[in-house]
Amino acid sequence: MDLRSRPVGALAGVVPALLLAAMAAGPAAAQDTIRIISHRQPALEYYTGKMAAALPEGRVTVELMPIDRELELASITMSSQSDAIDVLYLNDASFQRFAANGWLEPLDDLWEKYREEYDLDDFPQSVIDAVSYDGKIYAMPIQTNTELFFYRTDLLEEAGIEPPTTMEEYAAAAAQLHSARTAGTIMSLKPVDAALNEAHWYMNAIGDGWFDDAWKPIFNNAAGVEAITKLKEMTQYAPRGFTAHANDESTINLQQGLAAMGLQWFTRAAAMDNPEQSRVVGEMGWVAPPGGGARIANDGFAISRFSSNDRDEMFRMMAEAASKESMREGAQFAMPPRLSVLEDPALAEQFRWYTAAREAVESGQAFPAMPDFLDVGEIVTRHILRAVTGEAEVQAALDQAAAETESLLASRGYYN
Amino acid sequence: MAPLTIRQATKSFGAVQVLHGIDIDIQDGEFVVLVGPSGCGKSTLLRLIAGLEDITTGDILIDGKVVSRLHPKDRDIAMVFQSYALYPHMSVGENMGFSLRMRDVSQAERERKVAAAAEILGLTPLLDRYPRQLSGGQRQRVAMGRAIVRDPKVFLFDEPLSNLDAKLRVQMRAEIRSLHKKLKTTIVYVTHDQIEAMTMADKIVVLRDGHVEQIGSPLELYDAPANAFVAEFIGSPSMNMLEGRVGEKGQSFITAKGVELPLEAPPPLEPGRNAIMGLRPEDIRLGAHGAPARILLIEPTGADIHVNLDLNGDQLTAVFHDRLELTEGESVGVAIPADVVHFFDVETGERISS
């Protein structure tokens, strides 16, 4: 067969190739919508809804998913500098890492431009600091979140127990209320986020914290070992499957009356009184976490540096969602960072958990301010779980976690 | 060595019945051949005896014991398969000793028996070889050796020579025959080749469509076939079959095509009766006074000459042992000697005897 005399045959190969290219170009052109990804919890559902409502319909797409997945997706997308994500939710821990990597768009000029229009001075300096890195603002603050101690007022009253103020009291109460039908306490030990939160509390309340001033891990010292040992002991009062429980599962456990108390986020408090989901409406009470040291976080939304959409438009979208009115309404889900809203006394009357929340903010502690804490969390939570499930002794597991952590931080240049 | 009796054996595969009421009596030490066209049920019958198929109704007795429902290994039989069925990953010696190994016979005893069987078959230098290194004939012998080692009551052969070339087949026929003489075991042998049947058997069982057509010694079947089917089946080339009727005077046979063949002896039929006349090729004589026929084809084999004749539309095959000067297209006269004519009923095919 002589190819020279078959030009038609050659054309036949070119046409499909062109079609393919056209099809590929199609969806790329259609990526005009602003794509927001976020962790999924009631407050963020509310706020992302507000963002979508701020712009014409169809302009914004929102995807909600568990935080570990969200961060994974964001990491992979941004490390390849793709423009697939425009706006993303970040908490203080992840925010540091993303800003340090240079993946976020600095917002200082836009902040100045819209300062008056959206009353951006209403945010306290501490909150602005929490969303800044290396002197630049990188995110719009959306919520201050703090871990609270949830407990069933009816069950504790029945058993004649006071809401616990120390870790020992917590352990005793959980032991007393633990039954076949209702577990003594929830425990959210799914790696990475949930387990890290739970461990953070124990590590601060009983242990000496995670790092010393030189960023060397100290969580495997005697106090740290005691902390994790206590954590392991508490799991005997936890509902089965706790190694796979994150915030969603623990919330459901509390709502369904499958557990009597435990550590959970402020943002989940309102769900306890939601008659459509909860069986314990009105029965849940709150105090600051016993022993203190539970996590507080300042979360926000940031713009990807690789986004191909108009940053002005996106900033205004976020500012709308973070407006005074929006936050007033959102106060039921999360503590609004805006001073004017937070200091409103009507809040404490309307929402029963605000008193506890204000106390928790005082006694709580944020994650160590390092960009790599979540990566450390990957290592540490795995080993803590090994200790909890009995695969390794607590001391050995923590020692190994410390060794791996040190090696990781060394490779990231912390000890130079 | 033992007598084998098959009583009213039937076999059905689901709704299809392949064997209808088979009755066969085999004496101790007899060499019996089951022969018949493809699909007649001979292999099925053999497998029934072996126990590889379940008998539907009827009984099989070996040495007086009813074995109809027994597992093959409990029937004390040995079988040589058409494909030899040698275990490819075992040596010749291991193949032959396998059954003894299954019965937990000691190694020393095993080796002794294997050596003895190998001696009989001339396999001693091959004991360490593997089946794929052997020729067809050697594999055949190993298969037989495997059977001999068992020292069974009955030997079963399932078309063992079909995979060999013609010359080897002739040689193996003789070997099997001499083996039989030496071991004096009862043998049941299945083949579709009637020459094998004729040369090896003490007794032949002709089967068709699951029925026994005739049982008898080779010469009995040759000289006095019980029906047209057996007559045509036994003998090579086949017996010539002519349709027609007996002549008015009872002295000739008039074929349907109108040729009158004079008969030297009176036929056991009344004149005018329609019948089929059977004529063996080797019984045809050529003579000037015979019925006129034209030569169609001459096939010299060296030892004899096969001639195809046209008898006014009917085709006859004749075999001559002399070197006759014949040419194709020539006209000759066909004559029939007296006592070698067979008559069969037109409808039933049964032999008509006086």
């Binding site: 990597n101 499957g241 | 398969f81 275990y87 075992m90």
Partner: protein, 291 residues
């Protein structure tokens, strides 16, 4: 002899080109990256030679993940093979109704592994899963299928077996079809019990198919990912963290691409070595006289 025309080699180019792009280039790049300390967050790349390899091979976590991989891999393949072989033999005996059964038995394999893993996860979820809910109504407290280190391994093994046993069954069934039935009959007449027939006649004849299925499955199972990722995520702790899960952690969670590449290369070497030794071992045991 085919005479080589000039320019004949041009016909190789398309397929070789495709192979090079899809297979050789990524492989080469991975090997290249494994010699670097490469953190995707900051994007800095520093050459450290065999540093990654040394670090990995001296890590307890790596050896533990290898041990976990071995347990899960051999557990799965052993289970799949035993059950698959038994089913193939059963089908072989059935003859006529075999077709219906073989289709039904093959269904679990048709489902995408990820989808199968997802609904297996729902079945095994603590308290609310189908299995737990059923057992709890009978007042039996079930173990934490996915949360207990031992049971998590068992669940993963069972899940893999559920998905891949049909494959082994089909391959061995096909191989059985090619078996000369008269060999089995001869063995029956020779007095071999079913067990001995299996050992002396069927298995030796099936050795090529057996080697194939075991090798392929072991290779696959060593590179296990979707099933474990969905079911347990490598947890609890590191109970089901196989080499691939650890590689995923390194590459996509911690963004340590250099180290992950090194682990990938190590995995490749291990799997290749494994394959060769299995091949050799099985061949020598059973093919003694043959070839």
């Amino acid at each position: 002899m085919v005479s080589w025309q000039r320019g004949l080699w041009l016909f190789f180019v398309p397929s070789f080109g495709l192979l090079a792009v899809v297979l050789l280039w990524p492989l080469g790049y991975a090997i290249y990256l494994s010699f670097f300390d490469y953190f995707l967050g900051t994007g800095t790349r520093t050459f450290i030679g065999l540093g990654n390899y040394i670090e990995l091979l001296s890590e307890a976590r790596l050896w533990r993940s290898m041990w976990t991989t071995i347990i899960i891999a051999f557990g799965s393949v052993a289970l799949e093979f035993a059950v698959g072989f038994a089913l193939a033999l059963a089908l072989y005996r059935l003859n006529s109704s075999a077709k219906v059964f073989s289709v039904l038995l093959f269904l679990p394999h048709i489902v995408t592994p990820v989808v199968a893993a997802l609904f297996l996860k729902w079945m095994l979820a603590a308290n609310w899963g189908l299995v737990d809910a059923t057992l709890l109504t009978f007042d039996i407290t079930p173990p934490d299928w996915l949360g207990d280190p031992l049971w998590a391994k068992v669940s993963v093994i069972l899940a893999d077996a559920w998905i891949f046993t049909p494959l082994i069954m089909m391959v061995l069934y096909a191989a059985l079809q090619g078996l000369d039935a008269s060999l089995i009959e001869a063995a029956q007449i020779d007095g071999a019990s079913n067990w001995r027939i299996l050992r002396h006649v069927i298995i030796p004849a099936l050795i090529p198919a057996i080697i194939f299925t075991i090798s392929v499955r072991l290779m696959d199972v060593f590179r296990f990912f979707d099933l474990i990722y969905v079911l347990t995520g490598g947890g609890p702790g590191t109970a089901t963290e196989t080499i691939t899960m650890y590689t995923y952690q390194l590459g996509f969670r911690m963004l340590e691409v250099g180290k992950a590449s090194a682990l990938g290369v190590i995995t490749l070497v291990i799997v290749a070595a494994l394959l060769l030794s299995i091949n050799r071992a099985l061949n020598s045991i059973y093919r003694g006289g043959d070839r």
